[in-house]
């Protein structure tokens, strides 16, 4: 819900943006243009819809029409590939970062995507610098060219049950900043409560390899080696990651159930520490209500020097064919990545803003002061790394293969060392197979 004062402020901000943007001053949008927009996750309608409403209020010549949202990034990706073949692509699509490279490469070959970089170049340089950091722009780059404009961005964070942490002798204001201490705290939580699990790190059931990347990158490791053609996690970083995974289950009694059930269990107050995306912070906060005090803290980092975190979320790409629609789509992209739209996104989900001005005092600062849990994710932003895709276009299959091995390691069926060997070998085989 936006207050009128906020709206006025936003309108003023947009006004200045518009003045400094030469694109808007052209009478290009004389006739009405309708943009077909596709996004993933039906639940995300709660910010996509108000953002589109706001956009249409300001750009009366452009109409935004949403297609039925895809159930997940994977399904959205499939829809896009199918529609590329049948020439029924939407005009704008929000692609998950982990699938962006594969999608863009396919669409570039078919000449069905518009590069974003030249459009950005045409804008005023000062405006560009004021809104987008280089790190944020890099999120939408594929093979050195910018095709997508970052819309949602997240880094993994830790949710925890403050009561359970206190009971176990932990300090909710000073949560462990490395995994050894975090696991020790989880073991204490488990020891205190009979029907309570210490931690849930649902890597064994996660639909993509985000949580695995998180463990590798925080330990200073890399997903790919220097040649960028083979797995780079067959190092100590990978070994420690798998050892942590085994400890979650063996020592802290993490239940190996599907992540939906696991999240329900955390919300029911039966899990102490829970690693998850900040994108569901609003939802989880609302579901917990007064049942217990929900707190968040930054993701533990073992390698304080080199440790990084993978950026999840999605970027908007332009797949419109018609030049008038491409121009309109660019206006839409600028708006959704602007401070006003980002404020809506952050407040309804928990994502990080992808706009530099959004965190400022006229937008999100007051909200963050009132909701410190939402600020956590931004506190680790200097550790954010763009998604490093696997070569060969098999990333979905690679993750399914890796996930099975991780699952076996967590159950104790495969020792850490053997599991890591298998992961490296099988990932490499899949990268080379196409």
């Amino acid at each position: 819900m936006l207050h009128r004062r906020d709206l006025l402020k936003s309108a003023a901000a947009i006004g200045t943006t518009a003045l400094s943007s030469p694109f808007l001053t052209r009478p290009a949008q004389a006739q009405d243009v309708t943009l077909d927009v596709l996004y993933a996750f039906p639940a995300f309608a709660k910010f996509h819809e108000p953002i589109a409403q706001e956009f249409m209020k300001q750009q009366s010549a452009i109409k935004i029409q949403f297609r039925a949202p895809a159930a997940s990034y994977d399904e959205g990706h499939q829809t896009m590939l199918r529609q590329a073949v049948t020439n029924q692509l939407p005009d704008v699509y929000y692609s998950g970062y982990h699938l962006l490279a594969e999608l863009v490469r396919t669409l570039v070959k078919r000449n069905q995507i518009t590069e974003v970089a030249p459009l950005l170049q045409k804008e005023d340089a000062a405006w560009r610098r004021a809104n987008y950091s280089d790190g944020i722009l890099a999120l939408g780059a594929v093979d050195g060219k910018i095709y997508g404009l970052a819309f949602n961005a997240s880094l993994p964070i830790i949710y925890f049950n403050a009561q359970l942490v206190k009971d176990a002798g932990g300090d909710p204001d000073k949560m462990p900043n490395n995994w050894a201490d975090m696991i020790a705290l989880a073991v204490n939580i488990k020891a205190k409560g009979a029907d309570v699990a210490g931690i849930a790190y649902n890597i064994h059931d996660w639909p993509d390899d985000w949580l695995f990347r998180s463990l590798i990158l925080q330990g200073g490791g890399q997903m790919l080696d220097a040649s960028e053609t083979a797995a780079g996690f067959g190092t100590d970083a990978g070994r420690n990651a798998l050892a942590h995974c085994r400890k979650f289950v063996a020592d802290a009694k993490m239940p190996l159930i599907d992540w939906d059930s696991s999240r329900q269990q955390f919300i029911a107050g039966k899990i102490g520490i829970f690693a998850d995306t900040p994108a569901r912070l609003r939802q989880v906060t609302d579901l917990i209500g007064d049942k217990f005090t929900l707190r968040t803290c930054t993701f533990p980092i073992d390698d304080k020097q080199k440790g990084g975190l993978p950026t999840g979320g999605n970027a908007a790409i332009i797949t419109a064919k018609d030049p008038a629609k491409q121009r309109a789509a660019w206006e839409f992209l600028k708006f959704v990545s602007g401070p006003e739209a980002q404020k809506i996104v952050v407040e309804t989900t928990g994502y990080m803003p992808t706009n530099l001005r959004a965190s400022g005092p006229e937008f999100l600062a007051p909200f963050y002061d009132k909701n410190p849990n939402f600020r956590t994710v931004s506190q680790q932003i200097e550790r954010a790394k763009p998604w490093q895709g696997y070569p060969g276009g098999q990333s979905v299959k690679i993750w399914r293969t890796q996930r099975e091995i991780i699952h076996a390691v967590m159950r104790g069926e495969t020792p850490v060392e053997a599991g890591l060997d298998r992961m490296v070998k099988e990932s490499n085989a899949l990268m080379k197979s196409s």
């Binding site: 590329a84 599907d258 159950r411």
Partner: protein, 309 residues
């Protein structure tokens, strides 16, 4: 027919008999044509396209493809994921076929003897057949929830340990099979009831006179042999239904935990619609078709010989 021939015959120069045969053949083809064209369009043509794709390396979204001969088939033979999915499917079939046939036979015999409550039981057992499996799968997921689900609450009340039925690799296929049986029993029961009603009463009277009055004797001497054709039909359809297991896996486990519930159709779905290896998925679909065909033909012929009609 006669009218047409009567009209044409006077004009015909050729001998009427051969001309009539020709016309009849032509008319016959004409009558068969609509069904044949439909069969070609909806079954044979897609099958041909499928077979064609399986010899290429086409991927969804690609602009071109080339022929790779039997490479896809070679890969499939050595693919551990495919092997595992075939094992999982066979395990599922091995539980569902005997379970689905025997339990429904038992239920049918029990219900057949009811007089007033028969239709009530029929409705109760038939309900799962009429419900959509997706909705039912969601319901099962709630029931089987590792801690909050009703089944685990009951187990806990009885002093057993909590069991994560869908997250335990050894239990996931038997659990899915139990749900599969639950869904099939009603339909098979109706078929068996029809079979039971068709058994003449005098056969039972005859074995009674011969001294076989114990229910088990009556079952073995009359009911079971007379149900032969029904049993064969039920077994074959149950087999095919079980082999096509997909929806419960897709909704409830997504192949997990750790691939323990990845069945053949789900593996095909992953290859085709998640990994976009269209050609490989086409190959696997051919393998799947061959499997069902071979098993069905085998079953029909083997059982056919033993069935007393």
């Amino acid at each position: 027919m006669n009218a047409i021939i009567a009209e044409i015959t006077p004009l015909a120069a050729a001998p009427p008999a051969s001309r009539q045969r020709w016309i009849e053949r032509f008319a016959g083809l004409g009558f068969a044509a609509p069904a044949f064209i439909l069969l070609v369009l909806t079954n044979l043509a897609p099958l041909a396209a499928l077979a064609f794709l399986s010899f290429t390396n086409y991927e969804l979204g690609a602009l071109d493809f080339s022929f790779v001969g039997l490479k896809n088939f070679g890969t499939a033979l050595q693919d551990p994921v495919i092997r595992r999915s075939i094992t999982n499917t066979l395990l599922y079939v091995a539980i569902v076929v005997p379970g689905g046939v025997l339990i429904s036979l038992l239920v049918a015999i029990l219900i057949h003897q009811r007089k007033r409550t028969r239709s009530l039981y029929e409705v109760i057992y038939f309900l799962p057949v009429t419900s959509t499996l997706i909705a039912m799968a969601t319901m099962w997921q709630f029931l089987l929830h590792p801690t909050l689900g009703l089944i685990n609450q009951v187990l806990k009340g009885l002093g057993f340990a909590e069991t994560a039925f869908l997250s335990e690799p050894r239990l996931v296929i038997p659990t899915l099979a139990a749900i599969g049986i639950w869904q099939l029993v009603g339909f098979n029961m109706v078929l068996f009831l029809a079979g039971l009603s068709a058994i003449p009463r005098d056969l039972y009277e005859a074995v009674d006179i011969d001294g076989a009055s114990h229910p088990i004797d009556r079952f073995l001497k009359v009911t079971w042999p007379m149900l032969g054709p029904t049993t064969m039909f039920v077994t074959v359809t149950t087999f095919i239904t079980a082999f096509k297991i997909f929806d419960t896996v897709a909704v409830m486990t997504r192949g997990g935990p750790g691939g323990a519930s990845e069945v053949l159709l789900y593996a095909i779905y992953l290859e085709g619609f998640q990994y976009f290896h269209m050609s490989y998925a086409a190959t696997l679909t051919l393998v799947f078709l061959a499997f069902t065909l071979v098993f069905s033909v085998l079953q029909t012929f083997v059982l056919d010989r033993r069935v007393h009609y």
